[in-house]
């Protein structure tokens, strides 16, 4: 094992105020199981899971609530024991309606009877290990929620030779991953060993930003006698350093091709939280039903790093952290750069919820309808090398052809442009709308081409 300084510096990026000091030194606190839990069935990317329980069913912790509804999908498990109150369309943490299972906890928090002893996973074939990851409902816990088992099974012809463990945590305010790296560095090591066994990767990088020296030394200690070729990469602190494609560049100087996946450059990125969830799923047969959430912001009574069950409502989380202080301007699920502003706090948290942020009005961005003044700061900030200023103007003018030519589809919606924009234009919203419209136009074009082909 070696520790390396920043290897390569991806383009663009910004330096927001990090505000991590209020929670970074607080140990993780386990939250008691609340009365009602709202477990969304679309926590992951891909097809929403198909419910296997119905109203009135009695479930125990770890029992499946829903099964995968496709290749890119995942299992969802009951976070505690209790009765199913309803299975219906409700508001989810993404801000959209989605299928949600409401569970009334019985307070006993019974788990499934342990059927097998802790597995001696070192003797199992990779295929079986992946099955266990799938059965544990493990998804990417950094935010996107991509089902992990899909990433672990690259299609024929793709070889993954580089494993990158993402401990950058570049979002301001959030310290969940930081606490995992400090408190569970041994578990991360075990997770890396399992991933190493599955993938047989030749190189392992653990990327941590240089503003987290304590995490770096904890990891150094845990990995000091690691057998394979492993490097802890101390990357430069800047946002969005922890974005998947940017991190791959930081470690390998390879660019994931436009529209491609990390596996196209032989890389796989897993969040530190995902690594620990894999350990639970493989070693203890314990599915993913809880995670660490940073509850913070200047409008929360008592900022904390909380270990909470999936489906815990934001209302209960806030109550556990000393309630709302003053008048919050926004309630955000996730970090301040890419999180989703919530319209209600009666929404359950997901496997991907890394933070709950309550910000006062003084702290939040106020968007305006002012025109672009062409300062070019967004161009300098954009990690994807786009021209957000012209993109937003073209999208505003519904000139989607030009937006496509300006590569709007390569936008990663990191928000660096809107953070810098002195005119306070809602650039990310422009991009998201532009992307949707461009994709829609593409589909229409393809359909039309198909029709013409048929006609001729």
């Amino acid at each position: 094992m070696i520790t390396l300084g920043a290897l390569f510096n991806p383009r663009g990026g910004i330096h927001p105020a990090y505000h991590k000091d209020s929670t970074e030194s607080l140990p993780v606190e386990a939250m008691p199981v609340p009365k009602s839990l709202y477990v969304a069935l679309n926590q992951h990317l891909g097809a929403p899971s198909k419910p296997v329980v119905k109203k009135g069913d009695v479930v125990v912790r770890g029992q499946p609530l829903a099964e995968p509804a496709g290749y890119v999908s995942s299992w969802v498990h009951a976070p505690t024991s209790g009765v199913i109150r309803s299975v219906e369309s409700r508001l989810t943490a993404s801000g959209q309606l989605g299928p949600v299972v409401e569970i009334e906890a019985d307070g006993r928090d019974e788990g499934l009877p342990c059927t097998s002893a802790p597995a001696e996973w070192r003797n199992l074939p990779a295929r079986e290990l992946v099955e266990m990851v799938l059965a544990g409902g493990v998804i990417g816990m950094g935010g996107a929620g991509f089902p992990t088992q899909v990433k672990l099974l690259p299609p024929q012809g793709k070889v993954i030779h580089t494993l990158i463990i993402n401990g950058a945590e570049c979002e301001p305010y959030l310290t969940a991953d930081y606490r995992i790296m400090i408190e569970q560095s041994e578990k991360i090591r075990q997770g890396v060993e399992i991933l190493h066994r599955i993938l047989n990767a030749t190189k392992v990088f653990i990327a941590v930003e240089d503003n987290k020296p304590a995490a770096i030394s904890a990891l150094e200690k845990a990995f000091r006698d690691f057998a394979g070729e492993l490097a802890i990469v101390v990357v430069k602190t800047k946002y969005p350093q922890g974005a998947e494609k940017q991190l791959i560049y930081s470690c390998t100087r390879r660019e994931v091709p436009s529209g491609g996946l990390p596996m196209d450059v032989g890389a796989l990125v897993e969040n530190v939280g995902t690594a620990t969830a894999i350990v639970d799923a493989v070693v203890a047969h314990r599915p993913l039903v809880e995670r660490i959430v940073t509850v913070t912001g200047d409008a929360i009574g008592q900022p904390k790093n909380v270990l909470a069950r999936t489906g815990t409502s934001f209302r209960d989380l806030i109550a556990f952290c000393g309630g709302i202080r003053g008048n919050p301007g926004k309630v955000i699920c996730g970090g301040p750069m890419m999180g989703v502003a919530q319209s209600s706090i009666d929404v359950g948290m997901n496997k991907t919820t890394s933070g709950l942020l309550l910000l006062s009005r003084a702290q939040i961005q106020q968007y305006s309808s002012m025109p672009c003044i062409g300062c070019g700061r967004c161009v300098q900030a954009c990690p994807s090398g786009l021209l957000p200023c012209f993109l937003s103007e073209n999208i505003e003018a519904e000139n989607y052809g030009e937006a496509e030519a300006l590569n709007v589809l390569d936008c990663i919606e990191c928000g660096a442009c809107a953070f810098e924009c002195p005119a306070h234009r809602p650039l990310v919203q422009h991009m998201r709308m532009g992307k949707a419209k461009v994709l829609q136009r593409r589909r229409q074009r393809e359909a039309k081409a198909g029709q013409k082909e048929k006609a001729s």
């Binding site: 025109p371 073209n394 505003e396 003018a397 000139n399």
Partner: protein
């Protein structure tokens, strides 16, 4: 050197569009898209250069010896029309997309005062054959340059937000005026 100065003069100092205000119609008509503008520029360079040569010949060998200078205008337009028709045929065959984009403005080069202006100015300034061709080429180059410059500006105007009554051609003309103001800076660059 003299010919280079002639070109510089026609392109920058006495730019047909920006300081003499000739050829405004296609200047406003086909300046909405870079590729179309470049195509138009090419077409005008072709027509203007050749028309300069042929009209000079027509004047020197037919009209002047026969003392029929008063037929200048009509005879020149005949020549120009031929070249325009020829360009149109070529474009329709080789680049239907461009032909479609140029639309009515392509045949309108015929009545483009810039082309006739070059032919007439050549006679008036008593240019010889080579000078005529050079002047015609330079003027056309200036036209193409102004057109392409203006295309970029038009793209930005399309995203701008003028008051309702100034939208479209009105704001384009204001912009042409400002562009011509900027080109006043080149005044006196070449004394010809």
């Amino acid at each position: 050197m003299e010919y280079i100065l002639l070109i510089i003069s026609a392109v920058l100092v006495n730019n047909f569009v920006l300081t003499q205000f000739l050829g405004i119609c296609p200047f406003l008509g086909v300046s909405k898209d870079l590729a179309t503008a470049a195509g138009m520029g090419g077409a005008v360079i072709f027509v203007m250069t050749l028309a300069s040569a042929v009209t000079w010949g027509l004047q020197a060998f037919v009209l002047a010896p026969l003392h029929a200078e008063y037929l200048q205008t009509i005879a020149f337009i005949l020549v120009i029309a031929t070249f325009v028709q020829f360009v149109e045929l070529v474009l329709k065959k080789t680049s239907p997309g461009l032909h479609k984009a140029l639309g009515i403005y392509l045949p309108l080069i015929t009545t483009n005062c810039a082309v006739l202006g070059v032919a007439v100015l050549n006679i008036k300034k008593e240019h010889n054959c080579l000078e005529s061709i050079t002047f015609g080429f330079g003027a056309a180059l200036g036209f193409a340059l102004a057109l392409i410059l203006f295309t970029g500006l038009r793209e930005k105007i399309a995203r701008s937000n003028p008051p309702q009554c100034f939208r479209g051609t009105a704001i384009a003309l204001v912009t042409a005026g400002l562009l011509s103001l900027a080109f006043m800076g080149f005044a006196g660059l070449v004394k010809m």
